[in-house]
Each structure stands twice: as C-alpha cells, then as structure tokens.
C-alpha cells in the first residue's frame, strides 16, 4: 500500500517538475488567465452590466476557474501518449505497481499542474478586483482539488480510445470546446436556449464549474441566480462519474498499451 502511494507520488512529482522546468509553459500558465478574465470579463461586464444584481465579473471568474482546472487536468493527460511515443511508458508499465496507481499518479500530477494555474487565476482575479474572503477560499480549495481529479479522469476516459498524439491533439479540442459553451462559463446555463440548456447536462465540465460556483457563492444574495445545483449534488455526481471514467479509461488505456 505504502509502495503504491510512493509510486503514485513520484509519478505525480514528475509532472510538476516538468512544468517547473519549462519556463515558457510556466509564463503562459500565468499570462493566459490574465488575458482571459481581464478582457473577457471586462467586455462582458460593459455589455451586459449588472444583470439582475448579479456581478458578471465574479461569475466569469468562477467559470474560468472551474473550466481551466477541468480542462487543464484533462488535456494534461494527453502526455501519457507522449510518454508512449518516446517509450518512457515502457519503464512505467513494466513496474510492479497497479495500473490504477499509474493512472492515479498521472491524474494527481496533472491536477497539481492545473492547481498551479489556478493560483495564477486567483491572483489576477484579486488584482482585477474580485474579492475573495478566506472562508470562500477555504471552501473553494477542496472543490478545486475535486475538479482536478474529475477533469483528469475525464481525460483518461477520452484517451482510452486514442492511440496517437496527433489524434489526441485533434480530438481533445473537439471535445473540450463545446463544453466551454455548454457548461456556463460566461453565461448562466439556465438563461440559454432550452435546447442548449438540456444539452449542457451532458457536459461533465458543467458540474465542475457549478461546484466551484457553489462553494464561492455560498451564503451570498446572488447564490440562487449563479448556482444551478447544490454542492453535495455536484460532488456526489462527480464522484460517481469519476469512478466510472477511471475504470473504463484505465482498462481501455492498458489494453491499448499491451495489444499492439
């Protein structure tokens, strides 16, 4: 058990080191949210204003936070294919550890990388005037961790049916982009067309974004307007989906690895 934990940690640490040693990626990590929240949030604010007392800046900030964590964790999983293509995965797959340890280590690693990005978002949100209280932050951090794990498991599920890096680079945007609009990052889902609103139920990212909002808006006057479902509901659903994604994804990924 301790062995599996150590193994998972060392695999996760590897992804964090990779980020820390890649200066360009590190800079991009911090600049991207700045552009995002600053420009998008700002322009939305000026065109929509305070819609029914709701602060769009807060709404977009929490949306971007949930979306970034989910997407970054999911897309980070692609590097499993990179490992396969430069044969490093052989070294990992030959090790006497559970296949789930390998995948969980990867999810944890990419989750940590995503959390580094979240720090960037939080800092810039503060600079741009979003007020974040300590209790809000305390509630959000576990939610953020949950979103990372969930996003990672989603990434593994998608990766389970992809063999090459090129295919992954094509498929992932195709799967992430619609969710971007369906999960209510910029606009409340329930204010969209009924058709889109219904479709958004199928987007896993929606629940991730909503969970982050749930913890951020908790107890505020505009909570009902900004948040769709309760924190326990989102968390429960995400847990179930996490297990399903993880099991199917891992099984399929391992199969691909050995059935050449």
């Amino acid at each position: 058990m301790m062995h599996q934990l150590n193994a998972g940690m060392t695999l996760a640490y590897r992804d964090v080191l990779k980020l820390l040693r890649d200066r360009g990626r590190l800079v991009a990590t911090f600049v991207f949210p700045f552009i995002f929240i600053g420009i998008l949030g700002g322009s939305l604010q000026s065109s929509y204003g305070q819609t029914g007392g709701m602060n769009l800046f807060d709404f977009v900030f929490t949306g971007i936070l949930g979306q970034t964590l989910f997407q970054s964790a999911a897309i980070g999983i692609i590097s499993l294919i990179e490992d396969r293509e430069n044969d490093f995965s052989q070294e990992v797959f030959i090790a006497p550890i559970s296949r789930y340890t390998i995948i969980m280590g990867k999810i944890a690693g990419e989750g940590l990388v995503a959390l580094v990005q979240a720090v960037g978002i939080l800092v810039f949100a503060r600079i741009l005037g979003v007020s974040i209280s300590l209790p809000q932050l305390m509630r959000s951090v576990p939610a953020m961790v949950a979103v990372c794990l969930f996003g990672g498991a989603f990434g593994v599920l998608v990766l389970g049916s992809i063999r090459t890096q090129r295919a992954a680079n094509m498929v992932f945007p195709f799967i992430m982009l619609p969710q971007f609009f369906l999960s209510g990052v910029f606009l409340p889902v329930d204010k969209q067309k009924p058709f889109l609103s219904a479709l958004s139920q199928l987007s896993p990212m929606r629940y991730a974004v909503d969970l982050i909002r749930g913890t951020f808006y908790m107890g505020r006057a505009d909570e009902a307007e900004a948040v769709l479902k309760s924190v326990p509901f989102n968390l429960g659903l995400m847990t179930v989906l996490f297990v399903v994604f993880l099991v199917i994804g891992t099984t399929r990924f391992v199969k691909q690895e050995t059935e050449r």
Binding site: T10, R14, R21, I94
Partner: protein, 313 residues
C-alpha cells in the same frame, strides 16, 4: 528444478500485420542460467521479450515466468523482472539520478523523497556504485538526461535496471552504443551478479562473442527457432573444423594425405584438411613430409550463426 521461463508455441501477430512476428516458438530457461536469444534484425527477439515481460499480449501460446502465467497474472510476473529495453525509455525532462530514483521508488526499494539529499544513504551509495560500474561520474548523474549522448543514456539505463536485483534480468541489446570499457565493466558486473546466484540473465545481442558463454543459445529467424543449444553444440553441429597445411613439396604432401585416406582441398597456398579437433594430433603425427605451415581453425559462434542463417528454411 522447474524452469524459470517456459515458452510454448508462442505466436504473435501485430495488429494489421500480414505475418507472425513470432511464429510458434518454444523453449525453456533453467533458473540462474544465462540464456541468449539471437537472430537477425526483425527476427522477433524484442517481440518475444515484450511478451515475456508482460508489455505485449501474445496472439496465442503459453508463457510462464517465475511460476506465473504472463497473461493471467502479469502483476506477479512483473515483481520478478528487470529489463533493459532496446529502445531508450528515459524521461528527458529529469536528471539522470532522478530517472534512477523514479525507478527505485516504482519498485518499492526506497520511499519517495523530492530531493536527492533527502534520499536514504543506502540509495545514494548504490547509485554511486552502479554509476561507477558503467563509468558515469556523479556530476553526470546530476545532469539533465536531455544533454546526454546516446551512449551515456545507454549507461544510465543500465544503472537504472541494476538498482534492483530481479529473479530474471532481460537485456535487449544492452551493449549497443557502449564504448569497450563500459561494455567490459557491464559484463564483469553481470558476472558478479550471476556468481551471487538467484538471477537468470536473458540476453539478446548482435555481438556474438557476448553469447559464447551462455548456458543456452536460441537462434530465431523469421519468428521461428532455427537452432538451440550451447555454443559448443551449435558450433559442433554446423561448422567444419579444419587444418591448413603447407609444405615445400606440396605434391608429396598431397600424395601422403591421399595415402592416409584423408580428403583435402588444394589451392594456391596450401591444403585444407577437414578434421575434428580431437583428431588433429593424430593427423599431424601421420605426416612425414616436412611441413612449412600448420594453421588450425577454431570456429566462432559467429561463423556458426551465419551458416545457420544461410541455410534454406
């Protein structure tokens, strides 16, 4: 003693491939022995090793390693293995030592620590020792693998694979790209490992002199076993032993050989007489013509190997 590796009618056809990469191979390997799998490029050696080490699923056949079926119980098999892959499998983003540390933790030898200095002293000592075996300096162990030359990467993979002591150590062309000093260092170290007992070495190589000492040699071609045995039996079955003789009076020598009932071939430089090694002395004693030259020929494994592969299938 039951074999440590048992392979029966192993077949592998890659997805979308027209032919079997491994085509009905069977062999067994005795515990603690030195087994060499030889064959030309594309013969199926790496494919076979991949299946034996659980990283590739066989199409059919039975493979049992250290008492466990590789398909039914891959986890149990993996616990007994060490391997040097033919293709480098290092993480280029990490330093050399970090690659070794990752391996040591994955194999449960040491707890994980984020920094080298925090790792147990036993680990640090072992890394130093193994790096010395292949001639990597401790400064080099701290460098990013990205900056390594091909041979340095190879050395690092060797250090990494030797950090744990498996029951079966698979070496897929381990010395390719190594300089002679490191090559010798590796073989000396492997000799020590084997002398301590408990480790079976499973080697593939294109340097046939490395396989001369093997307890058992298996030669593959086009996915099939074309020869199996010790270096001696493989050579004995195939390669002709001969002696080349020459004398000032070549005609007299030829006549004498004919009288002795010996077959020979004559060319511009002398006579070649096929003769078993044990028989050479008797032959020479029977010749009265003064000889100006005697050359005995001891066949190498390489000659036998080339001859086997040239035979029509």
């Amino acid at each position: 003693m039951p074999p440590i590796i048992q392979v029966e009618q192993l077949v592998k056809r890659y997805r979308k491939a027209e032919q079997n990469a491994v085509d009905g191979v069977s062999f067994t390997v005795a515990p603690d022995s030195f087994f060499a799998l030889l064959g030309p490029n594309g013969a199926g050696k790496t494919t076979a090793i991949s299946i034996l080490t659980t990283t590739l699923t066989p199409t059919s056949g039975l493979v049992v390693v250290a008492g466990h079926d590789v398909v039914q119980d891959p986890d149990a098999v993996r616990r007994q293995l060490g391997i040097i892959f033919q293709k480098p499998s290092l993480d280029l983003n990490l330093s050399a030592e970090e690659n070794v540390r990752l391996h040591a933790v994955l194999y449960g030898l040491y707890p994980w620590r984020p920094f080298y200095r925090l790792m147990p002293a036993a680990y640090r000592k072992q890394v130093d020792e193994l790096a010395a075996v292949v001639g990597l300096t401790s400064a080099e162990m701290g460098q990013a693998v990205r900056t390594f030359s091909g041979g340095m990467k190879r050395k690092l993979e060797i250090v990494r694979s030797l950090i744990h002591r498996p029951r079966v150590l698979f070496l897929d062309e381990p010395t390719t790209g190594l300089d002679p000093a490191s090559r010798r260092g590796l073989w000396e170290y492997l000799g020590q490992v084997r002398a301590q007992g408990g480790t079976t070495v499973f080697l593939t190589t294109h340097y046939l002199e490395e396989a001369e000492d093997a307890d058992q040699i298996c030669i593959l071609n086009h996915g099939r076993v074309v020869s199996m045995g010790t270096a001696e039996t493989i050579k004995g079955d195939l390669v002709q032993n001969w002696v080349r003789l020459d004398a000032a009076d070549r005609d007299a020598l030829a006549a004498e050989l004919t009288a002795l009932g010996r077959a020979y071939e004559r060319d511009g430089e002398g006579l070649t007489v096929p003769v078993e090694a044990a028989d050479v002395h008797a032959l020479l004693r029977g010749i009265d013509t003064p000889l100006t030259r005697v050359t005995t020929h001891t066949p190498t494994l390489e000659e036998a190997y080339l001859e086997i592969l040239e035979r029509p299938a």
